[in-house]
Protein backbone atom coordinates (compact mmCIF):
# COMPACT_ATOMS: atom_id res chain seq x y z
CA UNK A 1 0.00 0.00 0.00
CA UNK A 2 2.81 2.39 0.90
CA UNK A 3 4.65 1.50 -2.25
CA UNK A 4 1.68 2.37 -4.40
CA UNK A 5 1.23 5.68 -2.62
CA UNK A 6 4.83 6.53 -3.49
CA UNK A 7 4.33 5.63 -7.13
CA UNK A 8 1.00 7.45 -7.19
CA UNK A 9 2.65 10.63 -5.90
CA UNK A 10 5.36 10.43 -8.55
CA UNK A 11 2.93 9.69 -11.36
CA UNK A 12 0.66 12.59 -10.40
CA UNK A 13 3.69 14.88 -10.18
CA UNK A 14 5.00 13.86 -13.59
CA UNK A 15 1.54 14.15 -15.12
CA UNK A 16 1.07 17.66 -13.74
CA UNK A 17 4.48 18.74 -14.99
CA UNK A 18 3.73 17.41 -18.48
CA UNK A 19 0.16 18.71 -18.62
CA UNK A 20 0.66 22.20 -17.18
CA UNK A 21 2.27 23.76 -20.31
CA UNK A 22 -0.92 23.14 -22.28
CA UNK A 23 -2.58 25.76 -20.10
CA UNK A 24 0.24 28.32 -20.23
CA UNK A 25 -1.05 31.60 -21.72
CA UNK A 26 2.53 32.64 -22.60
CA UNK A 27 6.09 31.37 -22.72
CA UNK A 28 6.84 33.33 -19.55
CA UNK A 29 5.13 30.63 -17.50
CA UNK A 30 7.79 28.07 -18.40
CA UNK A 31 10.16 30.28 -16.46
CA UNK A 32 7.78 30.48 -13.48
CA UNK A 33 7.37 26.70 -13.57
CA UNK A 34 11.12 26.13 -13.57
CA UNK A 35 11.46 28.52 -10.60
CA UNK A 36 8.86 26.53 -8.72
CA UNK A 37 10.60 23.23 -9.47
CA UNK A 38 13.99 24.47 -8.31
CA UNK A 39 12.54 25.88 -5.10
CA UNK A 40 10.61 22.66 -4.55
CA UNK A 41 13.82 20.65 -4.94
CA UNK A 42 15.53 22.67 -2.19
CA UNK A 43 12.45 22.37 0.01
CA UNK A 44 12.41 18.59 -0.49
CA UNK A 45 15.80 18.59 1.26
CA UNK A 46 14.23 20.56 4.12
CA UNK A 47 11.50 17.92 4.32
CA UNK A 48 14.15 15.27 4.91
CA UNK A 49 15.97 17.33 7.53
CA UNK A 50 13.02 18.90 9.33
CA UNK A 51 10.06 16.73 8.40
CA UNK A 52 11.71 13.33 8.72
CA UNK A 53 14.46 13.94 11.28
CA UNK A 54 12.98 16.89 13.19
CA UNK A 55 16.08 19.09 12.93
CA UNK A 56 15.95 22.77 12.03
CA UNK A 57 18.33 24.64 9.75
CA UNK A 58 18.26 28.38 9.12
CA UNK A 59 21.26 28.39 6.84
CA UNK A 60 20.50 26.13 3.94
CA UNK A 61 20.79 29.03 1.52
CA UNK A 62 24.51 28.82 2.26
CA UNK A 63 24.60 25.46 0.49
CA UNK A 64 22.55 26.88 -2.39
CA UNK A 65 25.19 29.60 -2.62
CA UNK A 66 27.98 27.04 -2.78
CA UNK A 67 26.15 25.11 -5.50
CA UNK A 68 25.45 28.30 -7.45
CA UNK A 69 28.96 29.71 -7.27
CA UNK A 70 30.51 26.33 -8.05
CA UNK A 71 28.82 26.60 -11.46
CA UNK A 72 30.09 30.15 -11.87
CA UNK A 73 33.68 29.56 -10.79
CA UNK A 74 34.68 25.99 -11.57
CA UNK A 75 34.25 26.23 -15.38
CA UNK A 76 36.25 29.48 -15.50
CA UNK A 77 39.03 28.64 -13.06
CA UNK A 78 39.47 24.91 -13.52
CA UNK A 79 37.89 24.40 -16.91
CA UNK A 80 35.32 22.03 -15.46
CA UNK A 81 32.20 21.44 -17.59
CA UNK A 82 29.16 23.02 -15.85
CA UNK A 83 27.54 19.62 -15.30
CA UNK A 84 30.58 18.50 -13.29
CA UNK A 85 30.55 21.83 -11.46
CA UNK A 86 27.13 20.84 -10.13
CA UNK A 87 28.66 17.64 -8.77
CA UNK A 88 31.62 19.54 -7.33
CA UNK A 89 29.29 22.02 -5.61
CA UNK A 90 27.27 19.15 -4.14
CA UNK A 91 30.45 17.45 -2.89
CA UNK A 92 31.75 20.65 -1.28
CA UNK A 93 28.35 21.29 0.30
CA UNK A 94 28.21 17.73 1.63
CA UNK A 95 31.71 18.02 3.08
CA UNK A 96 30.95 21.38 4.72
CA UNK A 97 27.64 20.07 6.08
CA UNK A 98 29.57 17.17 7.59
CA UNK A 99 32.18 19.45 9.17
CA UNK A 100 29.65 21.97 10.48
CA UNK A 101 27.11 19.37 11.59
CA UNK A 102 29.42 16.86 13.23
CA UNK A 103 30.20 18.76 16.43
CA UNK A 104 26.77 20.38 16.70
CA UNK A 105 24.52 17.43 16.11
CA UNK A 106 25.91 15.63 19.15
CA UNK A 107 24.11 18.25 21.21
CA UNK A 108 20.40 18.09 21.83
CA UNK A 109 18.07 20.98 21.13
CA UNK A 110 18.19 23.87 18.70
CA UNK A 111 21.92 24.35 18.41
CA UNK A 112 21.82 23.29 14.78
CA UNK A 113 19.39 26.10 13.94
CA UNK A 114 21.72 28.70 15.45
CA UNK A 115 24.93 27.24 14.05
CA UNK A 116 23.51 26.80 10.55
CA UNK A 117 22.30 30.39 10.69
CA UNK A 118 25.88 31.44 11.37
CA UNK A 119 27.13 29.21 8.59
CA UNK A 120 24.69 30.70 6.05
CA UNK A 121 25.66 34.25 6.97
CA UNK A 122 29.33 33.32 6.71
CA UNK A 123 28.90 31.96 3.18
CA UNK A 124 26.97 35.10 2.13
CA UNK A 125 29.74 37.29 3.59
CA UNK A 126 32.46 35.41 1.75
CA UNK A 127 30.53 35.66 -1.53
CA UNK A 128 30.01 39.40 -0.98
CA UNK A 129 33.54 40.25 0.07
CA UNK A 130 35.88 38.00 -1.90
CA UNK A 131 35.60 40.30 -4.90
CA UNK A 132 38.71 38.90 -6.57
CA UNK A 133 36.98 35.57 -6.95
CA UNK A 134 33.23 36.21 -6.78
CA UNK A 135 33.04 39.78 -8.12
CA UNK A 136 31.15 40.72 -4.96
CA UNK A 137 27.53 41.87 -4.52
CA UNK A 138 26.98 42.62 -8.23
CA UNK A 139 27.06 38.94 -9.03
CA UNK A 140 28.87 36.91 -11.63
CA UNK A 141 28.09 35.29 -14.94
CA UNK A 142 27.56 31.57 -15.20
CA UNK A 143 28.49 29.42 -18.19
CA UNK A 144 25.83 27.65 -20.27
CA UNK A 145 25.00 24.11 -19.22
CA UNK A 146 25.34 23.05 -22.85
CA UNK A 147 22.67 20.40 -22.67
CA UNK A 148 20.15 22.38 -24.72
CA UNK A 149 22.65 22.66 -27.58
CA UNK A 150 23.29 18.93 -27.34
CA UNK A 151 19.58 18.18 -27.56
CA UNK A 152 19.35 20.48 -30.59
CA UNK A 153 22.04 18.44 -32.31
CA UNK A 154 19.93 15.36 -31.67
CA UNK A 155 16.95 17.03 -33.31
CA UNK A 156 15.09 18.14 -30.19
CA UNK A 157 14.73 21.88 -30.53
CA UNK A 158 13.51 23.51 -27.31
CA UNK A 159 13.27 27.17 -26.41
CA UNK A 160 15.33 28.21 -23.41
CA UNK A 161 12.19 28.41 -21.23
CA UNK A 162 10.92 25.03 -22.39
CA UNK A 163 14.27 23.37 -21.82
CA UNK A 164 14.65 24.64 -18.26
CA UNK A 165 11.05 23.80 -17.47
CA UNK A 166 11.57 20.20 -18.62
CA UNK A 167 15.02 19.80 -17.11
CA UNK A 168 14.24 21.20 -13.65
CA UNK A 169 10.95 19.25 -13.69
CA UNK A 170 12.89 16.06 -14.30
CA UNK A 171 15.36 16.93 -11.52
CA UNK A 172 12.45 17.54 -9.15
CA UNK A 173 10.83 14.19 -9.95
CA UNK A 174 14.16 12.43 -9.30
CA UNK A 175 14.63 14.40 -6.07
CA UNK A 176 11.13 13.50 -4.91
CA UNK A 177 11.70 9.84 -5.84
CA UNK A 178 14.84 9.75 -3.68
CA UNK A 179 13.12 11.45 -0.75
CA UNK A 180 10.15 9.07 -0.97
CA UNK A 181 12.51 6.08 -1.17
CA UNK A 182 14.21 7.27 1.99
CA UNK A 183 10.92 7.71 3.86
CA UNK A 184 10.14 4.01 3.88
CA UNK A 185 13.69 2.66 4.12
CA UNK A 186 15.68 1.58 7.18
CA UNK A 187 17.63 4.85 7.18
CA UNK A 188 14.44 6.90 6.85
CA UNK A 189 12.79 4.97 9.66
CA UNK A 190 15.77 5.77 11.88
CA UNK A 191 15.40 9.49 11.06
CA UNK A 192 11.69 9.49 11.79
CA UNK A 193 12.25 7.49 14.97
CA UNK A 194 14.66 10.07 16.33
CA UNK A 195 12.08 12.73 15.47
CA UNK A 196 9.50 10.78 17.49
CA UNK A 197 11.68 10.16 20.53
CA UNK A 198 15.41 10.68 20.65
CA UNK A 199 15.75 8.68 23.85
CA UNK A 200 13.83 5.68 22.51
CA UNK A 201 15.75 5.86 19.24
CA UNK A 202 18.93 5.37 21.27
CA UNK A 203 17.55 2.32 23.04
CA UNK A 204 16.81 0.52 19.77
CA UNK A 205 20.43 1.06 18.75
CA UNK A 206 20.09 4.13 16.53
CA UNK A 207 23.24 6.25 16.64
CA UNK A 208 21.29 9.48 16.90
CA UNK A 209 24.19 11.85 16.21
CA UNK A 210 25.20 9.86 13.14
CA UNK A 211 21.79 9.71 11.49
CA UNK A 212 21.15 13.39 12.21
CA UNK A 213 24.36 14.11 10.36
CA UNK A 214 23.19 11.94 7.45
CA UNK A 215 19.98 13.97 7.18
CA UNK A 216 21.90 17.25 7.34
CA UNK A 217 24.33 16.20 4.62
CA UNK A 218 21.59 14.86 2.33
CA UNK A 219 19.52 18.03 2.68
CA UNK A 220 22.63 20.15 2.03
CA UNK A 221 23.13 18.31 -1.27
CA UNK A 222 19.51 19.07 -2.27
CA UNK A 223 20.02 22.77 -1.53
CA UNK A 224 23.32 22.80 -3.39
CA UNK A 225 21.90 21.19 -6.53
CA UNK A 226 18.93 23.58 -6.42
CA UNK A 227 21.38 26.49 -6.15
CA UNK A 228 23.37 25.17 -9.12
CA UNK A 229 20.21 24.84 -11.23
CA UNK A 230 19.16 28.39 -10.33
CA UNK A 231 22.55 29.78 -11.36
CA UNK A 232 22.73 27.76 -14.59
CA UNK A 233 19.20 28.71 -15.54
CA UNK A 234 19.74 32.44 -14.94
CA UNK A 235 23.28 32.26 -16.38
CA UNK A 236 24.01 34.62 -13.53
CA UNK A 237 24.28 34.40 -9.76
CA UNK A 238 24.46 36.97 -6.94
CA UNK A 239 25.24 36.51 -3.24
CA UNK A 240 21.52 36.89 -2.50
CA UNK A 241 21.20 33.18 -3.26
CA UNK A 242 23.02 32.50 0.04
CA UNK A 243 21.15 35.22 1.96
CA UNK A 244 19.30 34.69 5.20
CA UNK A 245 15.95 35.51 3.56
CA UNK A 246 16.44 32.64 1.13
CA UNK A 247 17.01 30.22 4.04
CA UNK A 248 13.87 31.45 5.76
CA UNK A 249 11.95 31.16 2.48
CA UNK A 250 12.89 27.47 2.20
CA UNK A 251 11.67 26.71 5.71
CA UNK A 252 8.50 28.75 5.16
CA UNK A 253 7.68 26.85 1.97
CA UNK A 254 8.18 23.52 3.75
CA UNK A 255 6.04 24.53 6.72
CA UNK A 256 3.26 25.94 4.52
CA UNK A 257 2.88 22.78 2.45
CA UNK A 258 3.47 20.36 5.32
CA UNK A 259 6.97 19.73 6.51
CA UNK A 260 6.70 15.95 6.73
CA UNK A 261 5.36 15.53 3.23
CA UNK A 262 7.15 15.63 -0.12
CA UNK A 263 4.03 16.66 -2.10
CA UNK A 264 3.49 19.28 0.60
CA UNK A 265 6.95 20.70 0.00
CA UNK A 266 6.20 21.03 -3.69
CA UNK A 267 2.83 22.67 -3.07
CA UNK A 268 4.38 25.06 -0.56
CA UNK A 269 7.13 25.99 -3.01
CA UNK A 270 4.52 26.40 -5.75
CA UNK A 271 2.31 28.73 -3.73
CA UNK A 272 5.09 30.89 -2.33
CA UNK A 273 6.79 31.16 -5.74
CA UNK A 274 3.54 32.02 -7.53
CA UNK A 275 2.15 34.40 -4.94
CA UNK A 276 4.64 37.21 -5.60
CA UNK A 277 3.99 36.83 -9.35
CA UNK A 278 0.24 37.10 -8.82
CA UNK A 279 0.61 39.86 -6.28
CA UNK A 280 2.78 42.14 -8.43
CA UNK A 281 -0.34 44.28 -8.74
CA UNK A 282 -0.32 44.74 -4.98
CA UNK A 283 3.47 44.80 -4.72
CA UNK A 284 3.34 47.00 -1.64
CA UNK A 285 1.15 44.52 0.19
CA UNK A 286 3.00 41.37 -0.87
CA UNK A 287 4.80 40.83 2.44
CA UNK A 288 1.59 41.60 4.30
CA UNK A 289 -0.42 39.02 2.38
CA UNK A 290 2.36 36.42 2.71
CA UNK A 291 2.46 36.93 6.44
CA UNK A 292 -1.30 36.67 6.67
CA UNK A 293 -1.35 33.42 4.69
CA UNK A 294 1.33 31.93 6.94
CA UNK A 295 -0.54 32.92 10.08
CA UNK A 296 -3.82 31.48 8.84
CA UNK A 297 -2.14 28.19 7.91
CA UNK A 298 -0.44 27.94 11.29
CA UNK A 299 -3.71 28.63 13.09
CA UNK A 300 -6.06 26.44 11.07
CA UNK A 301 -3.86 23.84 9.36
CA UNK A 302 -0.99 23.42 11.73
CA UNK A 303 0.53 20.40 10.04
CA UNK A 304 0.69 22.28 6.75
CA UNK A 305 -1.63 22.17 3.76
CA UNK A 306 -1.15 18.67 2.35
CA UNK A 307 -1.18 16.60 5.59
CA UNK A 308 -4.15 18.58 6.95
CA UNK A 309 -6.16 18.13 3.76
CA UNK A 310 -5.31 14.42 3.56
CA UNK A 311 -6.42 13.97 7.15
CA UNK A 312 -9.74 15.67 6.39
CA UNK A 313 -10.33 13.42 3.37
CA UNK A 314 -9.44 10.25 5.28
CA UNK A 315 -11.51 11.32 8.27
CA UNK A 316 -14.54 11.70 6.02
CA UNK A 317 -13.88 8.34 4.38
CA UNK A 318 -14.07 6.41 7.65
Amino acid sequence: MRLSSKHLTLIIMAALIVAAPFFFPSGYYFRVGALIFVNALAVTGIVILTGYAGQISLGHAGFAGIGGYACALAPVHWGLPPALAVVLGAAVSAALAYLVGRPILRLKGYYLGVASLGFGILVAMVLNNERELTKGPDGIEVADLGLRGLLKDWGLNLSNGEFWYAFTGLCLVIGAWIALNLFNSPSGRALRALHGSEIAAGTVGIDVARVKLQAFVISAVYASVAGSLTALQNKFVTPDIAGFMHSVEMVTMAVLGGVGSVPGAILGAGILTLLPQVLTVFAEYEQLILGLVMMLVMIFLREGLVPSILRKIRGRGE
Binding site: L182, P186, R189, G196, S197, I199, A200, G202, V204, G205
Partner: protein, 258 residues
Protein backbone atom coordinates in the same frame (compact mmCIF):
# COMPACT_ATOMS: atom_id res chain seq x y z
CA UNK B 1 29.37 -15.22 35.31
CA UNK B 2 26.11 -13.32 35.46
CA UNK B 3 24.62 -11.83 32.34
CA UNK B 4 24.05 -8.48 34.02
CA UNK B 5 26.08 -7.52 37.06
CA UNK B 6 25.58 -4.33 39.07
CA UNK B 7 28.50 -3.54 41.35
CA UNK B 8 28.22 -0.89 44.08
CA UNK B 9 26.44 1.54 41.78
CA UNK B 10 25.86 5.05 43.03
CA UNK B 11 24.97 8.58 41.86
CA UNK B 12 24.43 11.89 43.61
CA UNK B 13 22.52 14.90 42.34
CA UNK B 14 24.06 17.93 44.01
CA UNK B 15 24.62 16.40 47.45
CA UNK B 16 21.53 14.19 47.34
CA UNK B 17 22.55 10.54 47.18
CA UNK B 18 19.83 9.29 44.85
CA UNK B 19 21.34 5.81 44.67
CA UNK B 20 24.12 4.55 46.90
CA UNK B 21 26.18 1.38 46.85
CA UNK B 22 23.67 -0.93 45.15
CA UNK B 23 24.83 -4.35 43.97
CA UNK B 24 23.01 -7.35 42.51
CA UNK B 25 23.05 -9.54 39.42
CA UNK B 26 20.68 -11.05 36.88
CA UNK B 27 21.08 -14.50 35.29
CA UNK B 28 19.73 -15.65 31.91
CA UNK B 29 16.04 -16.59 32.15
CA UNK B 30 15.70 -14.94 35.53
CA UNK B 31 13.24 -12.19 36.44
CA UNK B 32 14.69 -9.82 39.00
CA UNK B 33 12.44 -7.05 40.36
CA UNK B 34 13.54 -3.81 41.93
CA UNK B 35 10.93 -2.49 44.33
CA UNK B 36 10.74 0.30 46.84
CA UNK B 37 8.57 3.26 47.88
CA UNK B 38 8.25 6.33 45.67
CA UNK B 39 11.51 8.23 45.43
CA UNK B 40 13.57 5.21 46.48
CA UNK B 41 15.76 5.62 43.40
CA UNK B 42 14.44 2.79 41.23
CA UNK B 43 14.15 4.74 37.98
CA UNK B 44 17.46 6.50 38.65
CA UNK B 45 19.09 3.08 39.06
CA UNK B 46 17.48 1.99 35.81
CA UNK B 47 18.68 5.06 33.99
CA UNK B 48 22.22 4.40 35.14
CA UNK B 49 22.15 0.78 34.03
CA UNK B 50 20.70 1.69 30.64
CA UNK B 51 23.21 4.47 30.01
CA UNK B 52 20.85 7.45 30.30
CA UNK B 53 22.77 8.69 33.37
CA UNK B 54 26.45 8.21 33.95
CA UNK B 55 26.97 6.57 37.37
CA UNK B 56 28.99 8.51 39.93
CA UNK B 57 30.52 5.32 41.28
CA UNK B 58 30.41 1.57 40.75
CA UNK B 59 30.26 -0.61 37.67
CA UNK B 60 27.77 -2.19 35.30
CA UNK B 61 28.88 -5.40 33.62
CA UNK B 62 27.08 -6.90 30.67
CA UNK B 63 28.21 -10.44 29.74
CA UNK B 64 31.28 -9.73 31.89
CA UNK B 65 32.23 -6.62 29.94
CA UNK B 66 32.40 -3.27 31.73
CA UNK B 67 29.73 -1.08 30.12
CA UNK B 68 29.45 1.58 32.83
CA UNK B 69 28.12 4.87 31.44
CA UNK B 70 28.08 3.59 27.88
CA UNK B 71 25.61 5.35 25.57
CA UNK B 72 22.26 3.60 25.11
CA UNK B 73 22.75 2.91 21.40
CA UNK B 74 26.02 1.11 22.13
CA UNK B 75 24.38 -0.90 24.90
CA UNK B 76 21.66 -1.85 22.45
CA UNK B 77 24.28 -3.29 20.11
CA UNK B 78 25.60 -5.33 23.05
CA UNK B 79 22.20 -6.82 23.77
CA UNK B 80 20.53 -4.52 26.28
CA UNK B 81 17.04 -3.27 25.63
CA UNK B 82 14.56 -1.33 27.72
CA UNK B 83 11.09 0.16 28.02
CA UNK B 84 10.10 3.36 29.74
CA UNK B 85 7.85 4.19 32.67
CA UNK B 86 6.33 7.13 30.82
CA UNK B 87 6.07 5.59 27.35
CA UNK B 88 8.54 6.55 24.65
CA UNK B 89 6.63 5.63 21.51
CA UNK B 90 7.38 7.02 18.05
CA UNK B 91 4.06 8.86 17.83
CA UNK B 92 4.75 10.03 14.30
CA UNK B 93 4.87 6.47 12.97
CA UNK B 94 2.46 3.57 12.56
CA UNK B 95 2.33 0.66 14.98
CA UNK B 96 4.09 -1.54 12.44
CA UNK B 97 6.81 1.05 11.85
CA UNK B 98 7.38 1.35 15.59
CA UNK B 99 8.02 -2.37 15.80
CA UNK B 100 10.16 -2.22 12.64
CA UNK B 101 12.31 0.49 14.22
CA UNK B 102 13.18 -2.09 16.86
CA UNK B 103 14.94 -4.03 14.11
CA UNK B 104 17.21 -1.07 13.36
CA UNK B 105 20.44 -2.90 14.16
CA UNK B 106 19.49 -5.72 11.81
CA UNK B 107 17.92 -3.67 9.01
CA UNK B 108 20.37 -0.77 8.80
CA UNK B 109 22.59 -0.57 5.76
CA UNK B 110 24.30 1.88 3.42
CA UNK B 111 22.21 5.06 3.21
CA UNK B 112 22.91 5.33 -0.52
CA UNK B 113 21.16 2.01 -1.12
CA UNK B 114 18.18 3.34 0.84
CA UNK B 115 18.06 6.59 -1.13
CA UNK B 116 18.06 4.73 -4.45
CA UNK B 117 15.69 1.99 -3.26
CA UNK B 118 18.15 -0.72 -4.32
CA UNK B 119 17.06 -4.36 -3.97
CA UNK B 120 19.33 -4.77 -0.92
CA UNK B 121 17.45 -1.95 0.82
CA UNK B 122 14.05 -3.41 -0.05
CA UNK B 123 15.20 -6.77 1.25
CA UNK B 124 16.21 -5.29 4.60
CA UNK B 125 12.88 -3.51 4.89
CA UNK B 126 11.03 -6.72 4.06
CA UNK B 127 12.98 -8.63 6.71
CA UNK B 128 12.13 -6.01 9.34
CA UNK B 129 8.47 -5.98 8.30
CA UNK B 130 8.13 -9.75 8.58
CA UNK B 131 9.82 -9.77 11.96
CA UNK B 132 7.73 -6.86 13.17
CA UNK B 133 4.45 -8.48 12.10
CA UNK B 134 5.39 -11.69 13.93
CA UNK B 135 6.17 -9.69 17.08
CA UNK B 136 2.95 -7.70 16.86
CA UNK B 137 1.07 -11.00 16.65
CA UNK B 138 2.94 -12.18 19.73
CA UNK B 139 1.81 -9.18 21.78
CA UNK B 140 -1.68 -9.21 20.25
CA UNK B 141 -1.40 -6.05 18.15
CA UNK B 142 -1.36 -7.54 14.66
CA UNK B 143 -4.70 -5.99 13.78
CA UNK B 144 -3.53 -2.51 14.76
CA UNK B 145 -0.42 -2.72 12.54
CA UNK B 146 -1.35 0.09 10.16
CA UNK B 147 -2.83 2.45 12.73
CA UNK B 148 -0.99 5.53 13.88
CA UNK B 149 0.72 4.62 17.13
CA UNK B 150 -0.62 7.74 18.85
CA UNK B 151 -4.19 6.43 18.57
CA UNK B 152 -3.63 3.25 20.58
CA UNK B 153 -4.86 2.67 24.13
CA UNK B 154 -2.39 2.95 26.97
CA UNK B 155 -2.23 -0.80 27.55
CA UNK B 156 -1.63 -1.45 23.85
CA UNK B 157 1.17 1.09 23.80
CA UNK B 158 2.81 -0.67 26.73
CA UNK B 159 2.74 -3.91 24.75
CA UNK B 160 3.98 -2.14 21.63
CA UNK B 161 6.95 -0.86 23.59
CA UNK B 162 7.74 -4.39 24.77
CA UNK B 163 7.43 -5.66 21.18
CA UNK B 164 9.85 -2.98 20.00
CA UNK B 165 12.31 -3.93 22.75
CA UNK B 166 12.02 -7.63 21.85
CA UNK B 167 12.68 -6.85 18.18
CA UNK B 168 16.31 -6.36 19.09
CA UNK B 169 16.48 -9.92 20.35
CA UNK B 170 18.04 -8.70 23.59
CA UNK B 171 20.01 -10.73 26.11
CA UNK B 172 18.94 -8.37 28.90
CA UNK B 173 15.59 -6.63 29.00
CA UNK B 174 14.92 -3.74 31.38
CA UNK B 175 11.24 -3.06 32.00
CA UNK B 176 10.34 0.15 33.84
CA UNK B 177 6.87 -0.31 35.32
CA UNK B 178 5.39 -2.26 32.42
CA UNK B 179 2.01 -2.57 34.14
CA UNK B 180 1.69 1.03 35.38
CA UNK B 181 -1.65 2.49 34.40
CA UNK B 182 -2.95 -0.79 33.02
CA UNK B 183 -6.17 -2.45 34.16
CA UNK B 184 -6.27 -5.95 35.67
CA UNK B 185 -6.74 -7.71 32.33
CA UNK B 186 -3.94 -5.80 30.64
CA UNK B 187 -1.67 -6.40 33.62
CA UNK B 188 -2.26 -10.12 33.37
CA UNK B 189 -1.49 -10.08 29.63
CA UNK B 190 1.77 -8.28 30.24
CA UNK B 191 2.48 -10.70 33.06
CA UNK B 192 2.23 -13.70 30.75
CA UNK B 193 4.30 -12.00 28.10
CA UNK B 194 7.15 -11.27 30.52
CA UNK B 195 7.16 -14.82 31.89
CA UNK B 196 7.25 -16.18 28.35
CA UNK B 197 10.15 -13.93 27.37
CA UNK B 198 12.10 -14.97 30.46
CA UNK B 199 11.49 -18.61 29.59
CA UNK B 200 13.25 -18.06 26.28
CA UNK B 201 16.43 -17.28 28.23
CA UNK B 202 16.34 -13.46 28.39
CA UNK B 203 17.50 -11.90 31.65
CA UNK B 204 14.78 -9.54 32.84
CA UNK B 205 15.16 -6.65 35.23
CA UNK B 206 11.87 -5.17 36.32
CA UNK B 207 10.88 -2.05 38.19
CA UNK B 208 7.30 -2.38 39.31
CA UNK B 209 4.79 -0.87 41.73
CA UNK B 210 2.22 -3.63 41.40
CA UNK B 211 3.27 -5.84 44.33
CA UNK B 212 0.99 -8.71 43.31
CA UNK B 213 2.68 -8.86 39.93
CA UNK B 214 6.14 -8.67 41.45
CA UNK B 215 5.43 -11.48 43.91
CA UNK B 216 3.86 -13.61 41.20
CA UNK B 217 6.52 -13.50 38.51
CA UNK B 218 9.85 -12.59 40.13
CA UNK B 219 12.57 -15.09 40.94
CA UNK B 220 14.44 -12.56 42.96
CA UNK B 221 13.54 -9.21 44.52
CA UNK B 222 15.81 -6.26 45.35
CA UNK B 223 14.35 -3.66 47.71
CA UNK B 224 15.52 -0.05 47.63
CA UNK B 225 14.80 2.66 50.16
CA UNK B 226 16.34 6.15 50.15
CA UNK B 227 18.64 4.99 47.37
CA UNK B 228 20.09 2.06 49.29
CA UNK B 229 19.49 -1.64 49.05
CA UNK B 230 17.75 -2.71 52.27
CA UNK B 231 16.87 -6.28 51.38
CA UNK B 232 17.24 -8.90 48.66
CA UNK B 233 16.03 -12.43 48.15
CA UNK B 234 13.16 -14.60 46.93
CA UNK B 235 9.77 -12.77 46.91
CA UNK B 236 8.28 -14.61 49.95
CA UNK B 237 11.31 -13.94 52.13
CA UNK B 238 11.45 -10.28 51.13
CA UNK B 239 7.77 -9.71 51.81
CA UNK B 240 8.26 -10.91 55.39
CA UNK B 241 11.38 -8.86 55.97
CA UNK B 242 10.72 -6.30 58.77
CA UNK B 243 12.95 -3.68 57.19
CA UNK B 244 10.94 -3.91 53.98
CA UNK B 245 7.63 -3.65 55.82
CA UNK B 246 8.94 -0.65 57.71
CA UNK B 247 10.06 1.05 54.50
CA UNK B 248 6.70 0.54 52.85
CA UNK B 249 4.43 1.33 55.78
CA UNK B 250 6.68 3.72 57.64
CA UNK B 251 8.59 2.95 60.84
CA UNK B 252 5.82 4.26 63.06
CA UNK B 253 3.36 1.78 61.65
CA UNK B 254 5.90 -0.99 62.19
CA UNK B 255 6.47 0.21 65.72
CA UNK B 256 2.76 0.32 66.42
CA UNK B 257 2.54 -3.25 65.26
CA UNK B 258 4.85 -4.44 67.96
Amino acid sequence: MSLLQIERLGIAFGGLRAVHDVSFSVEPGEIVSVIGPNGAGKTTLFNMISGVYRPGSGKVRLKGEDVTGMEPFLLAARGMSRTFQNLQIFQNMTVLENAMAGFHLQERGPVLADLLNLPSSRKRTRMAEEGARALLARVGLERAADREAGNLSYGSLKRLEIARALAMNPAVLLLDEPAAGCNAVETEEIDHLIAEVAKSGVAILLVEHDMKMVMRISNHVVVLDHGEKIAEGPPEAVSRNPAVIAAYLGTEAADADR
